[in-house]
C-alpha cells in the first residue's frame, strides 16, 4: 500500500520534472499516440490556419496526405496558395469551428443546404463558406454554385475515403445566419458580403455545442461509411485576432482556447478513435517563456512549428529524416514567419483594428 496516490506517478506527472526541468524544445513523454499513423494511410486535414503546418510537414515526410483538389498543372506554390490549392485536403479554406465542419459534412452528403450561400463584393460573387479560395470571385452566383457543387463532390469523396482525419480546432467565435443558423468561416463584410445585423448574429460556441458538433460529425461519417476513420484532434495555439464578445481579447482568447482544449480533452477521454496531439501545449507552455511566438505574439515561430512537428513525427515516423533543430525565435516584426505562408482569413480582422 502506498502512502500517497502520487507516490507512483511518473516524472512526467509532476510540474517540476515534467515541465520546469525539461528542454522546452523537446519535452519528454508529452505525447504518446493512442494509435499509430502509418505513411500509407490516407490522411485528410482540415481546421484553422495552424493545421496547415501539419499537412505541410506530413507531406514533406512522404505521408499520404490526401489532396482531392490539386492545383492546375504547372502552377507554382505561391500562386497555388493564393487559390488555396493544397492548403488542406480539399479547397474548403480554414474551418475554424466544429459547427462549420459538421455543416460541411452534412452538405457534402446532401443532408443540408446552407443558407445565404453566395456573397457579393464589387459586382463579383463569392462562396460564403470559403470566400478566400477564389480571390477575384466569379461573375455570377450560378458560377459560384457550380464551383461549390464540384467542391462538395471532392469533400464527399474525402470523407468517405480517408483513414485518418486531422482536425485543428481554431475558434469558438463565429458569425451565423439568424434564421437558418448557417455558420460562416468569416464575418460577413470581411472578405465579401455585407454585414447586416438583421440577418447575421454573433455566436460564441460553448463547450457543449462544440463537443456536440464534433460528435455529430463523427456520426455522419459512421452513417455514411462502412469503416469509420480515426481522428487526430489538435487545438490551434494562435490567439484570436479580434473578438466580438465585447470582452478584452486576451480574456476572450483564453476562454475560446480553454473551451477547445476542453472539448479536445473530452473527445480524447471518451472516444477510442480520437487521439489528441498537444501542439497547443508545446507552443504555449510557460517554460517556453513565449519564445515560440513572433513579435506580434500571435504567429508561431519556425522553431515552434518544428518543435511541435518533431514531437509528432518522433512518434509516428521515428525512422524519418530529422526536422531541423529548433533555433532561437526571431523577434523582428519584419522577419518572414511560418504564418506568412499560411492562409488565415481570420487575420483579415486586423484590418478593422483602430
Amino acid at each position: 500500500m502506498s502512502s500517497s496516490p502520487y507516490e507512483n506517478v511518473p516524472g512526467r506527472g509532476f510540474w517540476r520534472s515534467g515541465v520546469v526541468e525539461q528542454n522546452p524544445h523537446a519535452i519528454k513523454e508529452l505525447y504518446t499516440p493512442k494509435f499509430p499513423i502509418r505513411r500509407h494511410e490516407a490522411v485528410a486535414t482540415a481546421g484553422s490556419c495552424f493545421a496547415q503546418h501539419i499537412a505541410r510537414n506530413l507531406r514533406a515526410r512522404k505521408f499520404n496526405v490526401l489532396n482531392y483538389e490539386p492545383a492546375p498543372r504547372g502552377m507554382r506554390d505561391d500562386l497555388a496558395q493564393k487559390y488555396q490549392f493544397g492548403t488542406y485536403s480539399c479547397r474548403y479554406g480554414n474551418i475554424y469551428t466544429a459547427a462549420q465542419l459538421l455543416q460541411l459534412a452534412r452538405e457534402a452528403f446532401g443532408n443540408t443546404i446552407p443558407a445565404d450561400r453566395v456573397w457579393e463584393k464589387d459586382g463579383r460573387f463569392f462562396d460564403a463558406q470559403r470566400p478566400g479560395v477564389e480571390p477575384s470571385g466569379f461573375a455570377s452566383p450560378e458560377e459560384v454554385l457550380t464551383a461549390r457543387a464540384h467542391h462538395l463532390a471532392h469533400v464527399r469523396r474525402m470523407l468517405l475515403e480517408m483513414d485518418v482525419f486531422v482536425f485543428t480546432f481554431g475558434l469558438t467565435e463565429a458569425w451565423i445566419h439568424r434564421e437558418s443558423r448557417t455558420v460562416f468561416p468569416t464575418a460577413p463584410g470581411t472578405i465579401a458580403g455585407t454585414f447586416d445585423p438583421e440577418l447575421y448574429e454573433f455566436k460564441n460556441f460553448t463547450h457543449a455545442e462544440t463537443l456536440q458538433s464534433f460528435v455529430r460529425f463523427k456520426r455522419v461519417l459512421k452513417r455514411e461509411r462502412k469503416k469509420t476513420p480515426r481522428y487526430l484532434v489538435t487545438v490551434s495555439p494562435v490567439p484570436l485576432t479580434a473578438t466580438a464578445t465585447g470582452q478584452h481579447v486576451l480574456a476572450a482568447s483564453t476562454y475560446s482556447k480553454s473551451v477547445l482544449r476542453g472539448v479536445a480533452g473530452e473527445l480524447f477521454e471518451t472516444h477510442r478513435d480520437v487521439d489528441y496531439f498537444p501542439s497547443y501545449e508545446i507552443i504555449t507552455a510557460p517554460v517556453t517563456g513565449g519564445a515560440f511566438f513572433e513579435a506580434n505574439q500571435r504567429s508561431v515561430t519556425e522553431a515552434g512549428v518544428n518543435t511541435a512537428m518533431r514531437t509528432f513525427l518522433e512518434q509516428h515516423d521515428p525512422d524519418g529524416a530529422p526536422i531541423a533543430p529548433a533555433k532561437d525565435a526571431p523577434k523582428q516584426a519584419d522577419v518572414q514567419t511560418p504564418e506568412d505562408d499560411l492562409v488565415c482569413e481570420e487575420a483579415f480582422l486586423e484590418a478593422f483594428a483602430p
Binding site: G74, Y83, P135, S136, F138, H150
Partner: protein, 253 residues
C-alpha cells in the same frame, strides 16, 4: 525609306528569317535577325550599349546568325519584334481536360475554377518566360515600339501523336477555341499595361482556331546557319518559311 526592325528570338525566329529571305514582302522594312538556341536568350543583356547574350556560346551564335558579327545596337532600330521564347499558352492547353471554368463547355472536367485562376496561371508562365526577360530588357533601353509574337499554335500534324491528339480533341469537340483565345487576350492586356503590343498569328494559317495548318509546319527548318536542316518528323512547334512570309505580309509594324 525602310524602317529598321530588330527581330529577337530563339528557334522560332527561323520561320520569320526564312520567310523574309525567301519571299520578301513589298514592305518598307529592313529586319535584322538576332537569336540564340534553346535557353540562350535567357542571358540577353545590354553589354557596352549592345543587346547581347552574356553567355559566351549563345553570344557567338547570336552574332553569327545575324550576319552582323556583333550585338544589336538599340538606337539603330525603329521597332523590335520578339518571337518564340516561351510565349505560348501551354498551361491552358495542359489543364483544359481537367479544369473547367465558367468560360468552358467541358462539363466532364473534374475541377471547376474561375477564369481568373487560369489567367493568373498563364500570366505567371509568360511573366517568367525568356520572352519577358528579353522584352523588359528591350523596353528598358529603348522607346521604340516593342512587338511580341505568340508562338504559332501547334501544327494540326499533332494528330499523328496520340497524347497530343487526346489533349487537343476535347477542346475542339467542345468548341472551346474562344476560351483559349480569351486567356491569351487577358495576357495581352497585362502586356499592354507594360507598354508592349502583340502581333497575332495570321488568321489564314489557323486550323480549327487553335492549331496551325499542317502546310505551314511541313519542312520547317532548324535555326542554324544556312537554315537548311529540317526539324525532326512530327515537330509540331516550328513553322516554315511560308508561315514566316504570311506573318510579314499580315503584320503592321
Amino acid at each position: 525609306m525602310s524602317r529598321k526592325i530588330c527581330v529577337l528570338g530563339n528557334s522560332h525566329i527561323a520561320a520569320l528569317k526564312g520567310g523574309w529571305e525567301t519571299a520578301a514582302p513589298a514592305k518598307p522594312l529592313s529586319p535584322d535577325f538576332f537569336g540564340a538556341l534553346s535557353k540562350g536568350m535567357e542571358s540577353l543583356a545590354l553589354i557596352d550599349g549592345k543587346l547581347l547574350p552574356s553567355d559566351p556560346e549563345a553570344a557567338a551564335f547570336y552574332c553569327d546568325i545575324s550576319g552582323k558579327g556583333t550585338g544589336a545596337i538599340p538606337e539603330d532600330y525603329e521597332a523590335f519584334v520578339l518571337c518564340g521564347m516561351g510565349m505560348f499558352p501551354n498551361p491552358v492547353f495542359n489543364n483544359y481536360a481537367s479544369y473547367a471554368t465558367p468560360s468552358t463547355h467541358n462539363t466532364s472536367a473534374e475541377y471547376y475554377v474561375s477564369d481568373a485562376c487560369l489567367d493568373d496561371l498563364l500570366w505567371d508562365h509568360i511573366d517568367r518566360s525568356m520572352m519577358m526577360h528579353c522584352a523588359r530588357l528591350v523596353r528598358a533601353v529603348t522607346d521604340a515600339p516593342v512587338h511580341l509574337v505568340w508562338q504559332a499554335f501547334w501544327s494540326e500534324a499533332l494528330f499523328n501523336i496520340e497524347w497530343r491528339a487526346t489533349q487537343m480533341s476535347p477542346i475542339l469537340e467542345n468548341n472551346d477555341q474562344d476560351y483559349i483565345h480569351a486567356r491569351m487576350r487577358a495576357v495581352e492586356t497585362r502586356l499592354s499595361d507594360e507598354g508592349f503590343s502583340v502581333l497575332q498569328q495570321p488568321k489564314d494559317t489557323l486550323a480549327q482556331g487553335v492549331m496551325t495548318k499542317e502546310e505551314f509546319s511541313r519542312g520547317s527548318v532548324l535555326f542554324r546557319e544556312g537554315l537548311n536542316q529540317p526539324h525532326r518528323d512530327n515537330d509540331v512547334f516550328h513553322m516554315n518559311s511560308d508561315y514566316g512570309a504570311k506573318c510579314w505580309n499580315t503584320w503592321e509594324i
